[in-house]
């Protein structure tokens, strides 16, 4: 098993939700999409490549053949799958510190959800409902979501720069180059393998 691939951690959390409340939870997500300011904190944290919440109706677990017994469930379920940067504790900590209200909105109607503050109730809830990943693939183990985003900006800007600057005189080129550096100084961190996230050796 490995929940870790380079700088990314794969989290799977599946939690029950009464079927009628699942409708409210759907509405809560609609609300989030309608008013993206609800995502401001998540965006500012900038620790996630991609994350998804999927509500599975209690009657909508895939059923493929008569030989497969039909599920007979009391509850619907919500599956949360995140690809984030940092260790488990760091991620849970940061989320709980920075956007407690946001988390509460995302899990609000789930059974047993303790709210994100105090922290340890939330910790235990996530740990308890988390499922380990057996195979995890990351296209860029050396890059965090921040690295990907800054790379994209820098790459675009560099392409623009080469289009306009190569014909300049040496002196003008130097000026343009310095302006390029100034405009892109926030994208110039160097990448390497990330800090160790695994507790396996400890």
């Amino acid at each position: 098993m490995s929940n870790i691939a380079g700088k990314a951690y794969a989290m799977n959390v599946i939690t029950p939700i009464p079927w009628w409340k699942a409708i409210w939870q759907h509405a809560a997500f609609k609300f989030v999409v309608r008013f993206p300011s609800n995502l401001k904190g998540l965006i500012n944290l900038s620790l996630i490549h991609y994350a998804r919440w999927t509500i599975i109706g209690r009657n909508s677990f895939p059923h493929l053949a008569p030989s497969q017994p039909k599920e007979d469930l009391h509850y619907s379920y919500m599956m949360f799958e995140s690809n984030f940067n940092g260790s488990w504790d760091q991620y849970i900590d940061s989320f709980s510190f920075a956007i407690p209200e946001g988390l509460d909105l995302f899990w609000r109607f789930n059974i047993g959800y303790p709210k994100s503050i105090p922290l340890h109730g939330f910790y235990n809830y996530i740990r308890f409902n988390q499922i380990e990943t057996d195979h995890f693939y990351n296209a860029y183990p050396c890059a965090s979501s921040n690295d990907v985003k800054s790379a994209t900006h820098l790459y675009d800007n560099l392409k623009d720069f080469t289009e306009t600057s190569l014909e300049l005189s040496d002196e003008d080129f130097e000026q343009a180059y310095n302006a390029l550096l100034l405009d892109n100084q926030q994208y110039l961190g160097c990448m390497e393998a990330g800090p160790s996230l695994s507790l396996k050796e400890y």
């Binding site: 490995s2 998804r52 999927t54 499922i131 990943t133 296209a139 790379a151 994209t152 790459y155 990448m191």
Partner: protein, 215 residues
Amino acid sequence: MANTSGNAYGLTALCPIINGHTNDSNPLYKAAGESHDKEVRRILQALPLNQESPFANTDNTYLARLFILNDVFFQQGNDFKRDQLKSKYLCFNSNFHGELEPYLTSLWNNNENQVREIWQHCVAFESVSNANDFVRYIKSCQLTTTLFFNGSNDQPVAEQLKALYVKQMFSEFVLTQQGKSAAELKQAFKYFLQRVQLNDVKSPSWKPGQTEVAL
């Protein structure tokens, strides 16, 4: 509600695993006493990683995972009912660029053996014999994402990798140029452009799943 966020696609599929032991007529399996879910888990855990992962061979995978949902958890307390799943599920969760059909086709075409090895333990997979079947199969197991949060971007993976490569190269380049004369700088920059080939997305670039920053 939304399996897509721009050109990024979020796939979640729950593929039911056959209950009981693997092929009873095969004495090898029987001796090992392997149930299908254990067999799948063993295969998943033995899949090669990073650049060798089947997903590195599947065009446009950003991040993908496979795991097994054995059951759901009982929420402790008086007021809660107890649910138990009747099947175990192979969960396939992928975030990729582009559309579902070409993605799954690429997964099949480039990794047919591994796909067969993994999914053979799933219910009704015996009906799958080509890429089209596989697409149909996964779609029949697909769940609709309720909320897709794209904290990155929705570019083709090749573009992202090229951008990362260029970023790394350029942030090293600038360090070597501090204090150089204007003429030297311009010359060096031209040489830099020749090396990194900004407009060639494919090469030179990082390879999907590459674990070190140097090429």
